[in-house]
Symmetry: C2
Subunit: 202 residues, 2 copies
């Protein structure tokens, strides 16, 4: 099996970190999204919406969407549990995963796409919306700061996929000049923990 | 336990249909989001981002985010499997669930929020972005139409949470005048199947 990956993009990085945490080795095939290689007929046969990452199994079956690829490997090899172990943990991890994704990761992504015009050959940037998305992301950092006053990791007392999504969001946010500051002591503490994990290099 | 719900909104409906399919009875407490009841201090203590649905367990623990609530009940009572049974099914269901959610459900939601100004007391609508979101939703209906040429349900040969998300998306899309038409024979066939399920009334 192999994963079609883009080393510089934040979404595929979530999968690389997840697999590193699981100790699963993988073959990565680089796709140049800036040049639009992901939009080729060849790649659209693997994922009709033309995005990476894509996991291709040995029989040619493809699974796209970072969360779906992680879900597949969590089911194949549950430990260490990154989506939670009990029903309650699974619900709580998914709750934080979704909130981090919608209120931070995607807002930063939309801010980047709509304010820089990086993909203007394939979408219509609306700079006013990009600005709003950036404001939304900064607001959600306050929610995370309060959360991390109560718990070591985002979803509770165990490291989870929600930490991976938040870490990749905050690292990528530098491209739109959103950074942790003095008003984020807990996030800064947590961010250092994330950066010290060997998986951060994935 | 109980769920804070808004009968007219598309997101909580996904949970109601999911629980109806599982045969799980639930107490629903109505929250008037138009009046902003979801933004009260009382509700923000249950979900800091002020959204419904929220599941409240008997000990006061809260799980928000529709997918997270469904994840919790899938873990408590796996059958009938609505997130897939095998690792491959789980990955494929999650892939379609995510694509339907990002490329259809959220685009319709953004189109509604940004073009109608329904929530202008609590966000800044960007009508130009609302228009783009509507265009994105219509484009994704083509992807689903092609998909349903190959399979009975969206994620394969079994009904899943991806069908619930798509069904709620398409029903809600009427508010922004996006409807299935003659160019969608497979989607129309599938939509009738969805509407005939008893859960559609949930």
């Amino acid at each position: 099996m192999k994963i079609y990956d883009t080393k510089t993009a934040p979404t595929p990085r979530r999968v690389r970190i997840f697999l590193a945490e699981k100790g699963i080795e993988m073959e990565y095939v680089q796709v140049d999204i800036e040049k639009g290689e992901n939009l080729s007929k060849h790649m659209r046969a693997k994922n009709p919406i033309g995005k990476v990452p894509i996991l291709e199994l040995d029989d040619g079956t493809c699974i796209s969407e970072s969360d779906a690829i992680c879900t597949y490997f969590e089911a194949l090899q549950p430990a260490p549990y990154l989506f939670g172990e009990t029903a309650l943990e699974k619900g709580q991890v998914m709750m934080w995963q979704r909130q981090v994704e919608f209120c931070l990761f995607m807002q930063i992504g939309m801010c980047f796409q709509h304010s820089t015009g990086y993909f203007k050959d394939r979408m219509t940037p609306v700079p006013e919306y990009g600005k709003e998305a950036g404001i939304n992301a900064v607001k959600f950092l306050k929610v995370l700061e309060r959360r991390l006053e109560q718990s070591e990791y985002i979803a509770g007392d165990k490291y989870s996929i929600a930490d991976i999504t938040a870490f990749c969001s905050i690292d990528f946010a530098r491209v739109v000049d959103i950074k942790l500051g003095d008003e984020h002591p807990q996030l800064t503490r947590w961010y250092q923990q994330m950066r010290n994990r060997p998986s951060a290099k994935a």
